[in-house]
């Protein structure tokens, strides 16, 4: 039983990180209709920008977190203005491939600046709390708590604000949004801001739980896409549900198979949902 709860906790922590990435992938797909392959590397970028705040500027982690999310949001918007905006009218597959190019550029830049080795936010080992035999790392409170706060803020934005509703409207029907007078470029910019913030938070949380490495985000891209598709692509709430399923399933799989196969579990679940229910749990768009 203790073992079961322990693995469930691992799964929830991993699921929170995946969810923050998957929401962004889902939002971008809903608004711009393409699979954003550079999303994993935006996570890495956020993690390293926060590292610059912690080790470069010696800021407390909270302020470094703000630098990470703000910087990643700004760079995401910048990439859209310079590159993706020129490709609004081309086929989604061209956008997908150019996002793969962006992924390589972002990753290589990180490697050039910070080097290829593992990094950590702070030295020393924090001792986990042990409650009833269950080990809880203090970082997990920040990770899960931070993810929940960000998701609640996103929910309020999408349901209550004029711009959030316009984002849902554009995801429903971009042509109708345009003829209603909605400024679709403004919606696109805000989509990148939100996706950038959430991706950076995911990367920073992942770095807090483990360590930083230039391919940390790229390695998470498969579970992130699996979660977005599992939940129904284009549906941010589905992405959250899908991420928890994928995260928990990945951790429980280690009971039966080698942890090296964790990505295969995500992939297997993605294939299963595509066979069983191609629109995902929350009836998203069909790819």
């Amino acid at each position: 039983m203790v073992h079961f709860v322990q693995i469930l906790l691992y799964g929830i922590v991993l699921g929170s990180v995946i969810a923050l990435g998957a929401i962004g992938v889902s939002l971008i797909f809903g608004i711009l209709r393409f699979a954003h392959f550079a999303h994993g590397d935006l996570m890495t970028l956020g993690a390293y920008l926060a590292l610059a705040g912690v080790s470069g500027l010696s800021l407390p982690m909270f302020f470094a977190f703000l630098i990470g999310i703000a910087g990643t949001a700004a760079i995401s918007v910048g990439i859209d203005r310079v590159l993706y905006r020129q490709l609004r009218r081309v086929s989604p597959i061209i956008l997908l491939i150019s996002s793969l190019g962006v992924a390589l550029m972002v990753r290589s830049s990180i490697q050039m600046i910070w080097g290829p080795d593992n990094k950590i936010y702070s030295g020393g080992v924090t001792m986990p709390w042990v409650v009833e035999g269950i080990r809880i790392k203090p970082e997990w409170i920040y990770i899960v708590g931070g993810a929940v706060v960000l998701m609640v803020l996103l929910h309020l934005f999408l349901q209550r604000t004029r711009l959030g509703k316009a984002m849902r409207a554009m995801s429903d029907n971009a042509d109708l949004a345009r003829v209603s007078g909605i400024d679709t470029e403004k919606v696109i910019i805000w989509t990148w801001i939100i996706a950038g913030v959430l991706a950076a938070a995911a990367g920073i949380f992942l770095g807090l739980d483990t360590r930083l490495h230039p391919i940390m985000g790229w390695k998470l891209l498969l579970p992130v896409f699996a979660a977005a598709i599992f939940g129904g692509i284009g549906k941010p709430y589905g992405a959250i549900a899908g991420a928890l399923v994928i995260g928990i399933a990945q951790e429980f799989s280690t009971l039966f198979i080698s942890p090296a196969y964790k990505p295969a579990v995500a992939f297997g679940l993605m294939v299963a949902i595509l066979v069983w229910r191609p629109t995902g749990l929350f009836s998203g768009k069909v790819l």
Binding site: A169, D172, R178, V179, G181, I182
Partner: protein, 234 residues
Amino acid sequence: MTLLLAESIYGGYGGTDILHGVSMAMDPGEMVVIVGPNGAGKSTAMKAVFGLVNVREGRVRFQDEDITNLAPDRIVGRGMCYVPQEANVFPSLTVHENLEMGAFIRRDDYSDQLDRVYELFPPLKEKRRQAAGTLSGGQRQMVAIGRALMLDPRLLLLDEPTAGLSPRFIDLIFERVREINDQGVGILMVEQNAKQALAMADRGYILVLGRNRHEDTGPNLLNDPEVAEMFLGG
């Protein structure tokens, strides 16, 4: 002042022209119907007016200002709103949110306009918290027209508003369109139910192969034997 003036418009999608010199004129508060056989360019002519189709030659003027090839999101701000024939609601948004999106560019308090739309379409008020995608075809059409009315436009463009509706809803939608027109909103409408539409319209244009063929008052077109035989099914 003329409300709308389209002067020999040429244009279409991509390289080939669909419109070969279409002209139209409307006075404020008029109801005008465009009829014609399939492929005549009726919807295309309307889209060209609204900036959705590239106008290669000719001019479009709205309230005496040139709006040729202006983007639709700019045109709505000047008081012209458009209801597409298909996919004309946001299915996952509630009825209320659909109407709010119609008022997106308004920064003032539009609650009285909202009340007017709910008054015009009482079923929408009951279903205001329901997702628009779950409504029947007729009710969805009400949402679509309501959305376009939120900016209190001077000219409302309707692309086949009764297509695919049951006879009961066809009558209801026509009745509401007339009510909207009675409040002083100009209506330009493409309609398959040509007889019914012409009967209540001030004037009608008959387009054939992207060109003007006939133009007259609604009753005159209905009583013209040639028009009746060729375009209204006898």
